[in-house]
Amino acid sequence: MLTKEDLGMTRKQNPSSNGLSVSLEALEICFGKFQALHATDLNIRDGEFFTLLGPSGCGKTTLLRCLAGFIKPKRGRILFDDKDVSQIEPWDRGIGFVFQNYALWPTKTIARNVAYGLEMRKEDKATIERKVRETLELVELEHAADKYPGELSGGMQQRAALARAVIIDPPLLLFDEPLSNLDAKLRVKLRRDIRALQSRLGLTAVYVTHDQEEALDISDRIAVMHQGRVAQIGTPREIYETPVSTRVADFVGKATFLRGHAVSADAFQLDSGAIIQGAMTFQTSPANGRVLFSRPETISIVAPGEGDIDGVVHEVSYLGNLTRYVVTTGCGQNILVEARCVAQQGDRVGIRFSEMKVFDDLPDTKMQEEDL
């Protein structure tokens, strides 16, 4: 077993933190001929809560398993605090991993599950017992110490799995969709618990999810992945508000995409002929602008004729805090609006855009079904 010192992990960039920084340098992962991760560079800061977000099959788990050492990269390096760990075996890396299906050992009690990492480190009995108690208190499971995993609910099992991972004081904690088997309400509570625990222990976390709401909620930074590549890295706000491509814009949050072409730096003509004017940003230049993008909450509903374009309310869904409308324009394009106002299905209304970005092409999904 290598110690943290062996790995050169003592030199902290951030003295208040117990974590480490992670750098990927041109990292590539292959399964036979299939390239699961294309050359990727990535820097995760010490103490950061970093999320890998993307649709199923885009390679998030693969990248995470490579960080843990379960998969060896084909090319490139992984650095933990400037120390190359690419060829170090998983049992020598000393980092925590929390799995989607909890992966608790059904033949051991919760306490024995949690104690396992310390037993592997040959700690003495008294220390193990004390640390197990403390760690179980940390995740509020002290009453379940002698139960077997099968006797606990899903949420409790995942908390036990979390305790098992953090008991060895890992500088880096990896999560692979830890909440996706739980019900919605528990998911929200538990993700806040995870985030609080991570801040308190001051360790670095890499968190994999396909749930964009979860990612936006708890991350310091997010890397949006697509087909084995990182499409964008940024804070949740950057990812949501200034997506670099229609793909990111489409995957994170809801959005309206309208086909047409930019006629000037502040005017966009829809395929139907209508022209929308106002401040807009461009992915490359106005000359390439083909798709107008806008988030539903930045669009407002006004009286007919007073907005940028008119349409008919096609669908209304009441969400409580606000109402979601699908407004169909004259040429059949659907615009998604979230607002607090009163309009009935079938009403003729005006639409006003306030924040617009013009992209060069449509995301793949929207090419087939252009209904939103």
Binding site: M1, R65, A68, G69, F70, E89, P90, W91, D92, R93, G94, I95, G96, F97, F99, Q100, N101, A103, L104, W105, P106, T107, Y116, G117, M120, R121, A161, R164, A165, I168
Partner: protein, 664 residues
């Protein structure tokens, strides 16, 4: 670290080649080798004649008092001429030399393509002189002059082996061998069909309906599935043989001895296998399948034929295959029911043990014929199953219906009959174990003598049985778990499938054939094991490993790989992960399979009977010997059978109970 599993796999592969492939290759080699044949002449008062009953491969051309000439189909000729004065001259178409190893009454004469062993047997006469009879040889230009006793039989046996299809030709042309093949097929097919007529409907009823005593019925049939196999035959013969207890009491002029008796006994041996496999697959039909068929307007009968039968067919067919294999390779039943009946396992056994006449080749040929037939059964099962999807694993247990009164009594009647027939031998054996036997017949005198003899004289057999079965079970556990892990998780490209194929091969090898391969491979050369404790252990281990491997694989498929990753990320090396995490998890699933390995090893007969040599005599062999030898004390065998039943049913009760617990 990474390579240790690969090294282990290579080690297992080497072991599998040695223990599975090499013995089978030996059988093939020995089946394709034929010796040069033999003939015997008789000499009496200066007269010479050919003993026509013992002429093998040679064809007599002239048979006179002065000269006997014979010829083999390959053109090789031999002649013996009587020179008088107790001298004969033996001459062949090739010049002969006298081998220096010749001594006493055994001469070895070599030519280019032949190697004759010439042996003299002198009939004993009451007034005979105790001096050794004369038997000497002297070369006479290419021929050999032999001086012999005045009255003698001289056997000429050409032991030179040559590659040939002769054994197969002989096997497939002599009527006794064809009869054996025919009888084996009749017994196998008839008993499997009849057993399935009993077992499949009962399994269906038990799978569908709930009634008082249901789990008791299942437990009893499970018990019946591993009763000591040869007891049934003996008890049924005692009850229904000519002058049997029942036939005599009823005054019937009828006997169970014959092919029909073998079939009758085997039915009650194998129906539990079909019942249990069918019950499993009938109960695992997803009830939604049937309900949706009914909702779509299918009648109950259509739903039965279109949905239930196809989805449960794989399980039922596996049961039929296992039952057919058990019937086909059963050695004890025909042996006990009738000594005259020719049937493959018995024929192969007697040919192999019959030392004179060089019949090992014929035994090997018979073994290969048995293997081919076994493979045909497997192929038939595969062909029927091909292209069918397997029963969907149930997500929710079917609700059991309550049967109507008539149906309920039908189930009870049916159950009582099959349980009654299956346990008749057990009950009868238990009773006779307390009765005194005199000169091979039972009396009504109660006694505990059988048991006291057992515990004073034959505890060794108990120890041999338990220790060999236990050692084989431990080996099955170690290698079953680790080979399953290699096959399922490591997926080495060539080693994996090769290992799997070799380890699973004994599944289709009948016990008799397996034992012959073991003896041929391990009674000479670098590894000599015949007659030891180890050969029993190894044969049980190799024969049972397929079952252990399959249950271990099934257990491993239930374990998510993340469970191993979790341990690894916490600092456990792969070896520690396997031993500390995977093995305990697999064991809880594999324990049922291992218990069955133990029980089957402890009752195994068909390979044991060929492999054991005193003092390593297991209980099954003791019981068998006491059962077949005329006039033996069967009460003693009965007492040992009762002890064996205790040994069998205690662990079985344990696993049935624990299985019930896990199902809840």
């Amino acid at each position: 670290m990474r390579n240790s599993w690969k090294i282990f796999s290579l080690f297992c592969l080497a072991g599998a080649i040695l223990l599975v492939a090499v013995p089978q290759i030996w059988i093939v080699v020995s089946a394709f080798r034929q010796d040069g044949g033999a003939f015997t002449i008789q000499l009496r008062q200066g007269e010479m004649m050919l003993v026509s009953e013992d002429v093998q491969r040679f064809i007599p051309r002239t048979d006179g008092q002065e000269d006997i000439t014979l010829e083999r189909p390959d053109g090789f000729a031999a002649s013996v001429s009587n020179k008088g004065d107790n001298r004969i001259v033996f001459k062949t178409s090739e010049p002969l030399t006298i081998d220096p190893s010749s001594a006493g009454s055994r001469l070895v004469l070599n030519s280019d393509n032949a190697s004759f062993v010439v042996e003299q047997t002198v009939p004993m006469s009451i007034f005979g002189t105790p001096t050794a009879p004369v038997f000497e040889a002297r070369p006479v230009d290419g021929a050999v002059e032999i001086t012999h006793a005045a009255r003698s039989f001289i056997r000429f046996h050409d032991r030179a082996l040559s590659f040939s299809f002769g054994n197969f030709k002989e096997f497939l042309s002599r009527s006794v061998y064809l009869e054996a093949i025919k009888n084996s097929l009749i017994v196998t097919i008839a008993s499997t069909v009849l057993a399935s007529i009993v077992a499949v409907p009962l399994a269906w009823l038990v799978a569908r309906y709930s009634f008082y005593g249901r789990s008791m019925l299942i437990a009893l049939i499970t018990m019946a599935s591993i009763s000591p196999p040869f007891l049934g035959a003996y008890v049924w013969r005692m009850l229904l043989g000519s002058n049997g207890l029942l036939t005599a009491a009823l005054g019937l002029d009828w006997t169970i001895v014959g092919l029909h008796g073998v079939i009758w006994v085997i039915i009650w041996l194998i129906y539990p296998l079909i019942f249990l496999m069918s019950l499993d697959s009938f109960s695992s039909i997803d009830p939604t399948l049937r309900e949706s068929a009914l909702n779509l307007g299918a009648t109950r009968r259509r739903a039965f034929f279109n949905v239930e039968i196809p989805t449960s067919l794989p399980g039922v067919l596996t049961g039929l295959y296992m039952a057919a294999m058990a019937a086909f390779s059963d050695f004890g039943t025909p042996f006990i029911i009738s000594l005259d009946l020719v049937i493959l396992p018995k024929l192969v056994y007697t040919q192999f043990l019959n030392e004179t006449g060089g019949n090992v080749s014929i035994a090997s040929t018979g073994s290969i014929i048995m293997l081919i037939i076994a493979m045909m059964f497997l192929a038939m099962q595969r062909v029927v199953l091909a292209g069918r999807s397997f029963a969907s694993v149930t997500s929710r247990k079917s609700e059991l219906d309550r049967p109507g009164t008539a149906l309920k009594w039908l189930i009870y009647g049916f159950g009582a009959i099959v349980i009654g027939f299956a346990f008749t031998p057990h009950v009868f054996v238990a009773i006779t174990s307390f009765l005194e036997w005199r000169a091979g017949t039972v009396t009504t005198v109660m006694t505990l003598a059988n048991y006291s003899t057992l515990f004073t004289e034959q505890l060794n057999a108990v120890w041999v049985s338990l220790s060999t079965a236990f050692a084989a079970t431990m080996l099955c556990m170690v290698f079953g778990l680790s080979i399953a892990y290699v096959i399922v998780r490591k997926r080495f490209r060539i080693i994996g499938p090769a290992l799997n194929g070799l380890v699973m091969t004994p599944y289709i090898i009948p016990g008799t054939v397996f034992a012959i391969g073991f003896i041929l491979a391990f009674n000479q050369g670098p590894i000599v094991l015949t007659g030891t404790w180890f050969i029993l252990v190894l044969s049980y281990f190799v024969r049972m490993l397929p079952f252990s491997l399959k249950t271990s694989e099934a257990a491993l498929y239930q374990i998510h790989p993340a469970v191993e990753d979790a341990a690894m990320s916490l600092g456990a090396t792969p070896v520690r992960v396997f031993l500390g995490i995977v093995v305990p998890m697999m064991l809880s699933g594999a324990i049922t399979g291992l218990t069955l390995v133990f029980l089957h090893s402890a009752t195994e007969l068909s390979s044991t009977i060929l492999l054991y040599r005193p003092p390593w005599t297991p209980m099954s062999a003791v019981i068998f010997q006491n059962t077949i030898s005329p006039g033996a004390n069967f009460g003693y065998a009965a007492a040992m059978s009762v002890l064996m039943m205790v040994i069998l049913y205690v662990p079985l009760a344990y696993i049935t109970c624990s299985r019930k617990k896990t199902l809840v």
